[in-house]
Each structure stands twice: as C-alpha cells, then as structure tokens.
C-alpha cells in the first residue's frame, strides 16, 4: 500500500548484513528513556530529597548511601537535582525539536509545494540559515533576546531547524507526485485535506528516526548553551548548568561535573540507539 510504495521509493536497497546492536541494547535504551520520562513526570518516585534544599553543612559530600551521587557546593543532593533536571532537559529537548519541526514543516511545505520560484527562494533561505554553525546561530539569538529558558528553547529550535527543513523539503518533493496523491486529487479532495491526511504523514514517517535522535541532540545543544551561562541560570537543576557550576571544583569534587554529564551522554546514547532501532524496524517491513 502507501507504506510499501513509499518505503521502496525512498530507501536504498540495503543488505540485512548491516551490523547493529543486538535487541538487548535497544531494550535498555528504550527502558532508560521511559524511566527518564517517568522521572520528568513524577520525580517523587525516584527521590524524596528536595533538589533546592540548601544544607551548607553537607557540602561536597562524595557519593554515599545517603547521597547516591554526592552533594554540591550548597549541600544539595545531586541525584535529586538530576532527576528534577530530567524534566527541564526533556522539556527543553522536546520543545526545541517541536519548534524546529514547526519551522521545518512550514518551510518544507512552502518549498515543496509552492512552485519552482518559491522553492528556489526557500532553498536559498535555507542556505543562508545553513551558513551559520548551529551554536553561532543560537548565540546570536541569545544576544538579541537575552538568556533564560524561553530564549534557550527558541535558540536551540532555530539551530536545528535548517537541517530538518532540508529533509522535509526533500521528502515533500519526493512524495508529492506519488500515485496516491494524484489519485486523491483526481477524486477531488481539497488540497488542505490531501496535505494534512496524506502528504504530510507520509513525508514525515522516515523522519521519525531523525526526530528521535534530534531530541537527544537538542538536549546537548541546550546543555551547551546553559554550560556557557546563556541558558537556564543556576540554581535551576538543568544538567548543563550543573556541569558548569561544578567545573571550578573538579579537582576537589569531581562528582559535581561527572554525573550530570554522564546523564547527558546516556540520554543521547539512548535516543540514538532507539532511533536506529526504529529505523531498522521500519526497514524490516520490507519484503
């Protein structure tokens, strides 16, 4: 049906000899992501300690049974902060990716459906946006609109948008002349319905993989900006901010910097592995 046609049209012939992580890895990754989402929604399940509670007496405690990952310079429990930071980080990652996608869909549809001249203009606009490395673009944005979580999300979203826009545009161009679209048009369906119900879902399907990995990437970018002090400001338990605050104490108390970073790595790893797994499943449906 439509899936098969699309799949065959877009994916090059692949040998199933492609080496991949065994399903064990994928299951671990998916579990981790689910745990993270749970932590974001119900942090109380994982820890009872208040991430903002300042206890100067207990500053710089190394990891122990009381404080699993140690405490920071104000005596705050690091594990608690990481769990609560999961909400911040996931929120930023998902929101930023959503913004990227929104921009990308707008531009992609415009370019893909708007006719040759519009398409050239959009392509040219994308080139302009592409001329900036993503962090530079984000820095420019923060320079104009100030720092903070809001601008951080928009800045990260802007940084990722050009890449997605190009992909969406390519997909739209490939799909718009497909048989089922023509059929729908011949049947007299309104354009908006065709776009919403048939074009867009089929164009976006291969991008699910990219999106999954994109959330991980967005989290890293946002953490980089917070690390530079231009995103979430302390004492917010955002992982990049925590990393930055711990940097001065790396010689005395390495756990301040190590663990938030570890969680960023694990999240990125998990999204990448999950994304690849989804991709393989999609391809696996080829006969």
């Amino acid at each position: 049906m439509t899936d098969l046609t699309l799949g065959r049209a877009l994916t090059p012939v692949r040998r199933q000899r492609r080496l991949s992580l065994p399903p064990l890895g994928a299951s671990l990754a998916i579990l981790f992501l689910l745990a993270l989402v749970l932590a974001a929604l119900l942090p109380g399940l994982f820890t009872r300690i208040d991430p903002l509670a300042i206890v100067p007496r207990e500053a710089f405690q190394p990891p122990s049974w009381v404080h699993w990952l140690g405490t920071d310079q104000s005596g705050r429990d690091i594990f608690a902060r990481i769990i609560h930071g999961a909400r911040q980080s996931l929120l930023i990652g998902v929101a930023a990716t959503a913004i990227s996608m929104a921009i990308a869909i707008a531009l992609g549809l415009l370019g893909g459906l708007g006719g040759a001249r519009v398409d050239r203009a959009v392509g040219w606009l994308l080139e302009v946006l592409f001329a900036f490395p993503s962090l530079v673009l984000a820095l420019l944005f923060v320079a104009v609109f100030g720092s903070g979580v809001g601008p951080l999300i928009v800045a990260t979203g802007l940084g990722g948008a050009p890449g997605y826009a190009r992909m969406v545009r390519g997909q739209v161009l490939a799909v718009r002349n497909a048989g089922y679209i023509e059929a729908a048009r011949a049947l007299g369906h309104p354009t908006s319905r065709i776009v919403l119900r048939q074009l867009l879902p089929n164009a976006m399907r291969p991008l699910v993989v990219t999106l999954t990995m994109g959330v991980g990437q967005a989290i890293v970018w946002a953490s980089a900006l917070s690390f530079l002090g231009l995103g979430a400001r302390p004492p917010a338990p955002e992982w990049g901010t925590m990393l930055s605050m711990g940097r001065d104490f790396i010689a005395n108390a390495w756990w301040l910097t190590f663990f938030p970073g570890l969680f960023i790595v694990l999240t990125t790893l998990a999204t990448t592995v999950t994304g690849r797994y989804i991709q393989q499943r999609l391809e696996g449906r080829l006969p």
Binding site: V128, A131, L135, G146, L243
Partner: protein
C-alpha cells in the same frame, strides 16, 4: 588529410573545467548568501536591548559626560536613520572595514586577525585527528565479523554521544590536572593543542565512522573488490586503495557539516581550555553586547563555513564525478 571533427578531448581537462564552472556558480551563490547573512545580523542586532553608546563608553563602571556621549554617537554613526546606517554598513563591509569593537577599542578586523589563527589551527587539527581515528577504526575493523563489528559500532555510537564540553572537562581533569601529561591552558605550543583537539575530534570521529563503516562494508561486497582480491592483492591493499575511495563519499559529504560543528565546538573548548580564538571572542562579545564584534565574527564564520562547504562539494565531485548532485 583533413582533420576529422572528432574532437578527442582530454577527459581530465573536461573534469577540471566542469569543476571550475561548478566552483564559479557556487561562489556566486555564496556571495549572495553572505550578503543575506550580513543583512540578517545587522537588523537582528539592532534589536538588542540597551543603549550601544553606553556599552561603548565603558559599560557598568563608566560615567560618561554628555559631551563624551555625543562624540561617541557621531563617531559610530549612531545618530543617523537606520536605513542610512545600513547602507554605510554595507559600504564599509565591501571595503573590508568591519568597524570598531566596543569592548576592546580595536578594529574588528584586527581582533579577527589576531584570534582567528588559533581557531583555524584547532579546527584543522580536530578534523585531521577525527579522520585519522575514523580511518584507523573503520578500515581495520570493517567486515570482519559480528563481534568486532559490534564492538566497534558500539564504540562509535558512544563516542558520537559524548558532548564535547563534558569530554573537554573530563580530559582536562584527567590528563592535565591529574596525570599532568599536557598543559592545562595556553594557545602557543603543540602540547596545548592536543587535549582541545581530542575533545572535538572524538565525538566527530564517532559520527563519521558510523557512516563510513556502513559505506565501507557495502563497498567491500561490490564485484570490483572481489576482482581485486582474485588478482592477489593483500587485504589491506584492497581496503585502502580500492574500497576506500568509494566508501569515503558519505564521510566527505558529512565533513562539510562537520566543520560547522567544529566551529560550534571551538566556542566551548576555547573557554574550557583558556585558548585564544574567535570562538571565545564571540562568546565574550555576546556577553558584553559588543555589536560590531558579534557581527564581524559571525560574518567571518559564515564566510568560512560557506567556503568550506564549497570546497567539500568540489572534493566530493573530484573523488567521484559520477555522483549526481546530492539531494540533501
């Protein structure tokens, strides 16, 4: 004898000519892109809050008198209407004048000249190092079986997931503070380049290796490789001389994007390792709201990036001209 009109052209010369035409088109497009970039940054930064004159005249501790403010306003042309400022700005750009940095009281071009070298050094070193790691890992381990391939693949995936700012701090702590193998700061010596280059190269190598491995494995199954093997070439020779050239293509395509990622990474690494460079300059300029410096660095970075992409595109064409123009 009449010479036949069968024009036997040198295929190599034809290829060069085609490349040249392509380069010309891309460069022209690049100039247009740069113009758009300049316009975008100009108007975007005019929206910045805060009076730029106060920023020029010393920020939080300066106490400028009314005369000093008026003088500065005229000196920087901030009293004219926006459209006029824009035209003047473009005019100065064409002459290579990027204006005066508010925070350093130096011409922006001078700041760029002094700081650009270190960033260029770092970017090139990181790219070279990344490719070395990629070649080492993929060429040696591709197609050798599930276990090795699985381990290598895992290594690549983990590397690609390492954020370079975290990796930089960890490398600094272990190798500079702990083992003292490398200096913790500095921009002058080769030794001070090692740790920053590695913290940028490792994640990049992870990305490129994944793509190159796939491609290499596919190539190793192609018929012409089999032919080369039957002719008695050693395995390594086969891999390097024949397979690699075809397999490199996706990696090369990725290198264009990689340079952008490296520049982004340089911003953070220069801060962590206290290195000179335009990355750190950009970061400080944003903090200090130094308009001309932010615009100047963005323009130069954009120009460099566009140029790098053109070069990569040409390289791609050179390596395999049978490829159609990449759609993505």
């Amino acid at each position: 004898m009449t010479s036949t009109t069968l024009a036997v052209t040198d295929p190599r010369r034809e290829r060069l000519a085609a490349l040249g035409r392509r380069a010309g088109i891309r460069l022209a497009g690049g100039v247009l892109v740069l113009w758009a970039v300049a316009t975008l940054t100009f108007f975007a930064l005019r929206l910045m809050p805060g009076d730029p004159v106060l920023a020029i005249l010393g920020g939080t501790t300066g106490n400028p008198s009314p005369e000093a403010i008026e003088a500065a306003r005229q000196e920087f042309g901030l009293d004219k209407p926006l459209a006029v400022q824009y035209v003047l700005y473009l005019g100065r750009l064409l002459q290579g004048d990027l204006g005066m940095s508010y925070s350093q009281h130096l011409p922006v071009t001078r700041v760029l000249a002094e700081q650009g070298g270190a960033t260029f050094e770092l970017t090139v070193a990181a790219l070279v190092l990344a490719w070395l790691l990629v070649l080492l890992l993929t060429v040696v381990t591709a197609g050798r079986g599930r276990l090795i391939g699985g381990v290598a693949s895992l290594l690549e995936t983990v590397s690609a997931s390492l954020p370079h700012f975290w990796l930089g701090v960890v490398l600094l702590a272990v190798f500079a503070f702990g083992l003292r193998w490398f200096p913790p700061a500095g921009s002058d010596s080769l030794a001070s380049l090692v740790l920053p280059a590695f913290s940028l190269a490792i994640p990049l190598a992870g990305f490129i290796a994944q793509v190159t491995r796939e491609s290499l494995e596919l190539t190793l199954e192609q018929p012409f490789v089999l032919t080369a093997r039957t002719r008695g070439l050693s395995d390594l020779a086969v891999r390097f001389k024949h397979a690699l050239r075809h397999a490199l293509l996706p990696g090369v395509a990725l290198s264009g994007w990689a340079i952008g990622a490296l520049i982004s990474g340089a911003v953070v690494c220069e801060v962590i390792f206290s290195r000179k460079g335009i990355g750190r300059q950009l970061y400080q300029a944003v903090q200090l709201q130094d308009l001309p410096l932010v615009i100047g660095i963005s323009l130069v970075v954009a120009a460099g990036y566009v140029l790098a992409n053109i070069l990569v595109d040409l390289l791609y064409q050179w390596i395999d001209p049978r490829q159609q123009e990449a759609a993505a």
